[in-house]
């Protein structure tokens, strides 16, 4: 996973709530077995059908920070939603509330999700709509979002922050504790099911 320390870029205001993962990337784009190249599916229905959609506006074409309405990423567990955003050039999504699985997936794929109060999201929308070239800095080290004269702190748990700053892979971290996994396995009840084909009763 690519480490995340600090990022400065322009931001796209996505004034929609409950943006579900089917909008971020529709199911037909999930048939691929590779882990890259999902940018063509990113918000594809809105990009095709709505000329005014924010990412169709040239002033937001190069944005790398998405500022969305509440409840971003509801629905499916597809990590492809995070991959599509990353492949589409985004490093950060800001919202007042994320769906759990999307947020969790983002921490595994190196996409930073930042929770800000809705009032701060509204202020950021207003700023980037007034001047789309506004430079926005998201600093994970300092846990703050800043633009113009404004600086807003955000919360992130220490462990997730450390993993993102270092770009660490969870599997490697868990493998340090395999002795404890083995110990747990030795205590599991024998009647728990096995998935191997069952013998006829």
């Amino acid at each position: 996973m690519q480490p995340f320390t600090t990022h400065t870029g322009t931001a796209a205001p996505l004034r929609r709530s409950a943006v579900d993962t089917d909008q971020i990337i529709p199911a037909e784009y999930l048939k691929r077995i590779t882990r890259t190249g999902f940018e063509d599916g990113l918000f594809v229905a809105w990009r095709r059908n709505e000329p005014d959609f924010v990412l169709n506006q040239p002033q937001y074409a190069g944005a790398s920070i998405l500022v969305a309405g509440p409840d971003f990423g509801t629905g499916s567990s597809r990590e492809h939603a995070c991959w599509a955003l990353l492949d589409g050039g985004f490093r950060v999504v800001i919202s007042s509330r994320f769906a759990d699985i999307f947020k969790n997936n983002s921490t595994k794929s190196g996409l930073l999700t930042v929770v800000l109060p809705q009032a701060d999201v509204e202020a950021l929308w207003a700023a980037v709509e007034a001047d789309p070239a506004t430079a926005v800095t998201v600093d994970l080290q300092a846990r703050q979002v800043s633009y113009g004269e404004v600086t807003v702190p955000f919360e992130v748990d220490e462990y997730t922050r450390w993993r993102l700053l270092e770009g660490l892979d969870d599997v490697g971290l868990t493998e340090r504790h395999l002795a404890e996994v083995e110990d747990y396995e030795s205590r599991r009840p024998a009647w728990l099911p096995k998935a191997l084909p069952a013998l006829p009763a």
Partner: protein, 475 residues
């Protein structure tokens, strides 16, 4: 300290707990399908890792599978490649696979319970958000992304943070024609599409206890549509009776030991929930959605809401966008909405009881001449049982299409899709824009509302049929 059911299951699976770190949870069963797994297997190969517990892992093909000509090669080359990747990965890593054509094949959340692999008190994960279905057995079951699929394949564990606890209590008796689907749609409309974020929901109360296992699965299935990490129901005699004798259920002395343990899986007196929601079963009616998220629903007797009357700006904007997409006008009675297609199936409502309920309404009647109805059993097992009961003939004689098993039109990764502008009444779980096909418009309904709607061609409650002037087959 008194614990909730979810806390008991969680605590029993903590392998490691350390200050300032997520807990490491052991996973008892890992279900795998073709869509969210290929990159995870690639990750294992790239790192030279193996699957730690292939004996606790089971794979099936469900999302991409066609429901016609199921024994022929898949025509779409991209879908076919994905299914073939799963077959190659299952063979390489020694994982049991129920492929197309196998009698155990089906939607991953239908086959786990059907085989008896889903049992009370287990932790179950799958790269699929509807894994919450398995919570109906008192298991802690949740959807994960592909990075986590790789993590479970490699270690049989997952780093997790302790979830918050929510109780959804439904007391009383459900009125005739009101089903589990209506209960969960009403719950989601109440708390919102992400209203249970960060929580595990325990469904409780006399109305929940009276439900069959199939109905409990419908409720737990849609926990994710309220944003919950998982949903579960305490196991009881209904649960044990469903499991006994299934291929992977414990037998003999093991069965007795298991049941003794399962009986302890109840929320303790005095356990504390962070959030509580209470519904009166007697007040519920058939529920349908009008918008583009599962929280945008109303009793079928209602009308399309007017966004101008909504005070919350985000809610109003979402409703405006939803109505524009759905092609609906505020004030239109929901019962006047005409549909083109009825879809009966999915991990929400593709089990035998769902098919029986719909068939009972269709028996001896013909569906509306301008409406098509697809009936897609959740698994080959469900399909065979339905055919043994003669339900397939009830559906086909009514004018519906009887298909092979899979996810089908729930998300249209196979050829079963809505056309642009086409409107459906669907027993599936998501009415998101384009979910069932580009430009398709979805109204979520229960199996009995689906059947009644197929008969009239517009959103219809089963109770409406008794008063309606319907032509019987052959009349």
């Amino acid at each position: 300290m008194p614990k909730t059911l979810a806390e008991k299951v969680y605590d029993a699976h903590v392998v490691r707990s350390a200050e300032g770190e997520p807990d490491l949870l052991y996973i008892d069963l890992h279900l795998v399908h073709e869509v969210t797994s290929p990159q995870a297997f690639d990750g294992l190969r790239a790192a030279g890792r193996t699957v730690r517990r292939p004996d606790l892992t089971m794979a099936t093909e469900d999302h991409n599978v066609p429901t016609l000509d199921v024994l022929a090669p898949i025509a779409d080359p991209v879908s076919r490649a994905q299914v073939e990747a799963l077959r190659a990965n299952a063979a390489e890593f020694g994982i049991r696979l129920a492929p197309m054509g196998d009698r155990d094949q089906g939607i991953v959340h239908v086959i786990g319970p059907q085989l008896g692999l889903t049992q009370p008190g287990m932790t179950i994960v799958c790269g699929d958000s509807h894994t919450s279905t398995h919570g109906a057995f008192g298991a802690l079951a949740f959807g994960i992304g592909t990075s986590e699929v790789e993590h479970v394949l490699a270690t049989q564990t997952l780093p997790q943070y302790r979830p918050k606890q929510m109780a959804v209590t439904v007391e009383g008796r459900l009125p005739e024609g009101v089903s589990a689907k209506d209960v969960i749609l009403a719950v989601i409309a109440r708390i919102g599409t992400n209203g249970a974020a960060g929580h595990v929901i325990e469904y409780r109360g006399s109305a929940i206890e009276a439900l069959s296992m199939e109905a409990r699965m419908t409720i737990c299935n849609m926990s994710i549509e309220a944003g919950a990490r998982a949903g579960l129901i305490a196991p009881d005699q209904t649960t044990f009776d469903f499991l006994q004798g299934r291929p992977h259920a414990p037998q003999g002395a093991d069965w007795d030991a298991a049941v003794a343990h399962w009986r302890t899986l109840r929320t303790d007196e005095g356990a504390v929930f962070d959030t509580e929601v209470v519904l009166d079963a007697a007040e519920l009616t058939p529920f349908v959605t009008w918008g583009t998220n599962p929280g945008q629903g109303l009793p079928i007797g209602g009308s399309v809401p007017d966004p101008a009357a909504m005070t919350d700006e985000n809610e109003r904007r979402a409703a405006e966008q939803a109505l524009a997409y759905m092609g609906l006008t505020p004030g239109t009675p929901l019962r006047e909405i005409e549909v083109d297609t009825v879809f009966l199936g999915s991990c929400t409502n593709g089990r035998i009881e769902d098919l029986r309920t719909a068939a009972e309404l269709l028996r001896g009647r013909r569906i509306d001449a301008h409406t098509r109805m697809l009936v897609v059993p959740g698994s080959v097992g469900v399909k065979l049982q339905a055919e043994a009961e003669g339900l397939d003939r009830v559906f086909t004689e009514a004018g519906a299409e009887w298909r092979g098993a899979g996810c089908s039109m729930c998300l249209g990764m196979n050829p079963d899709q809505l056309q642009p502008g086409e409107r459906s009444a669907s027993t599936s779980n998501r009415n998101f824009q384009g979910r069932q096909g580009k430009g398709g418009r979805t109204h979520l309904v229960s199996p009995s509302v689906a059947a009644a709607t197929a008969l009239t061609g517009r959103l219809t409650a089963p109770a409406d049929l008794q008063s309606a002037d319907l032509t019987s087959a052959g009349a």
